[in-house]
């Protein structure tokens, strides 16, 4: 059986080590929260249910339909997983899918897996879920609003996730933001339509045959925290995108060196004694800035999480 990888699985080598490590730190935080939340939600059913559903997402990614010129539309699944299980269980399911794809099929790198988990496991599930719940809140809990919410949520989730990948590549100096961002967003605006149509088809079938499945997802933990988590993560990524790191010039250090006219100097004999960087982790200003951004991201995320927690506790209905 054949599986076609989506262009969202970043292989190793495309992200710089600093960016990869930041991704892993963030992914560990999210996986930790997801494990606690799903333990409360599912108890000892956690492992068998989520294991089988992860296998389902993996298998469902193979169900495709021909679009045109040899390309086909298929599912990524983050939004669907979040709609039926809730965002935290969805995150964990997608984490398992991405881990197996990377470990077994080299679809996505091992070092880059932190960001792959965030892009395809956290950002897709939370974007899709937040949009879906928002639509349901405004249009009421009807079939039509579920279909609309599923469509818009699935479509946006793929685009936002692709934009996040573009930002990560830009910060790593692999692909400049002014080219990468519109290209990734544009391509995935089309790919996302396939995702949206399949998600709507699946919701339609569930609504017709087992509507109670959809209500489980709507009452899962993370209902209130979803928007806060998503906003926190997106703000942090936005800040990173507009920081000097992701400027039009992929390597900030080389750009500054050129500006100040010592690129010629750097190629003088002294270069042989002092290479670009001697201690990769300490003496690279780009890396230090990335670490600073990472700390900022964690703080923003921590704040969003705390606000969400306190607002959830004050509310009459706890999620």
């Amino acid at each position: 059986m054949l599986f076609s990888p989506t262009p969202l699985h970043i292989p190793d080598g495309f992200l710089s080590i600093g960016v990869s490590i930041v991704g892993w730190i963030l992914a560990v935080v999210f996986i930790g929260i997801a494990l606690r939340q799903t333990k409360d939600q599912l108890g000892e059913r956690q492992v068998p249910l989520m294991g089988v559903i992860a296998a389902f997402i993996f298998a469902a990614q193979a169900i495709n339909f021909p679009v045109a010129a040899g390309t086909s539309g298929h599912l990524l699944g983050g939004t669907l997983a979040a709609i039926v299980l809730g965002p935290w269980a969805g995150t964990l399911v997608m984490t398992a899918v991405i881990s197996v794809q990377a470990l077994l099929f080299q679809d996505g790198g091992l070092l880059a897996m932190g960001w792959n988990i965030l892009n395809m496991g956290v950002i897709t599930t939370f974007t899709g879920y937040a949009v879906y719940m928002l639509v349901i809140r405004f249009l009421g809990s009807t079939t039509r609003s579920r279909l609309i919410g599923g469509f818009v949520g699935a479509w946006l989730s793929v685009i936002v996730s692709a934009m996040a990948a573009a930002i990560e590549l830009a910060i790593s100096g692999t692909s400049p933001l002014y080219l990468g961002l519109p290209a990734m967003a544009g391509v995935h605006a089309i790919i996302g339509l396939g995702e949206a149509i399949i998600t709507v088809g699946a919701i339609g079938l569930l609504q017709a045959s087992r509507p109670e499945v959809l209500t489980t997802g709507e009452t899962a933990p993370g209902k209130r925290t979803a928007t806060f988590t998503l906003v926190g993560l997106l703000v942090a990524l936005g800040v990173a995108a507009f920081s000097p790191l992701a400027s039009a010039h992929p390597d900030g250090l080389e750009f500054i060196a050129e500006l100040q006219g010592f690129l010629g100097l750097a190629q003088a004999p002294s270069y042989e004694l002092m290479p670009d960087y001697t201690l990769p982790f300490l003496s690279d200003p780009v890396l230090t800035t990335i670490l600073a951004v990472a700390v900022g991201t964690l703080i923003v995320f921590g704040l969003a999480w705390l606000i969400a927690r306190s607002s959830a506790q004050r509310g009459t209905v706890r999620d």
Binding site: P5, E44, Q46, F56, F65, V100, A202, L206, S209, P250
Partner: protein, 261 residues
Amino acid sequence: MHIDLTDQYQHKESLIHHLDPRVKVVVTLFFILVVGLVRHGSWIAFGALFLGVLGYAAASKLGMFYAVRRSFIAIPFLLAAAPLPFIIPGPALISFPALNLTISEPGTIRFVSIMLRTFIAVQAGILLAATTPFPDLVWAMCSLRIPRPLVAVIAFMYRYIFVLADEVIRLMRARAARSPEIPGKGKPSLLWRGRVTGSMVGSLFLRSLDRSERVYGAMASRGYDGEMRTYSTFQMRGVDWISLIVFSLLILGSLSLMFLR
């Protein structure tokens, strides 16, 4: 580009196949980390790391070029880095004045370096999967302190991938059997085809949900209490420690080659 869904493990009687899976996981991760740390344009270091992969493949009796042949999966992604030679300023390698394009030397060096990194790192991953049975990998993850519930979900998923893949094949065969092309009639709309696919995903989901209920029931009736237990265990033997140290030193040695010029 497609990956085919068969077990990636290739059984051979080699030293590497018999190593403790933790050694292989740690060495692979360390190797990929080092591949990422090599400076752009350090061709000697890249060459040494590539030779390392070839040697590792040969030592595991898979054939020297086993991983090379399978390492083209990341090619579509290279498109993301393709503009680099054109946009990084620097001395020109080739220029096309008519198109107002220049291929700069630093840009090309960076692009080729990214290509090599991906090429070498993917091979390390392929060799890990080819020399270690997945249950052993799962055991290694557990013993390397990855949260047990997550590892258990991954192990469960692996067990059911093949079952659900069979369901998918049946679903797709049923769709193909019911979708003849009728001469004189146009193809159905894209939206309709997408919705049919969505319904297939939905019914696969319901089947998976029911299956997970049955699996849970079967496990609960056999005394499952939320804790996963495994039979297989490994002990770090002398040969494991020696391999760990030798591999790490070789990797560090290759990294240090980037300071040669």
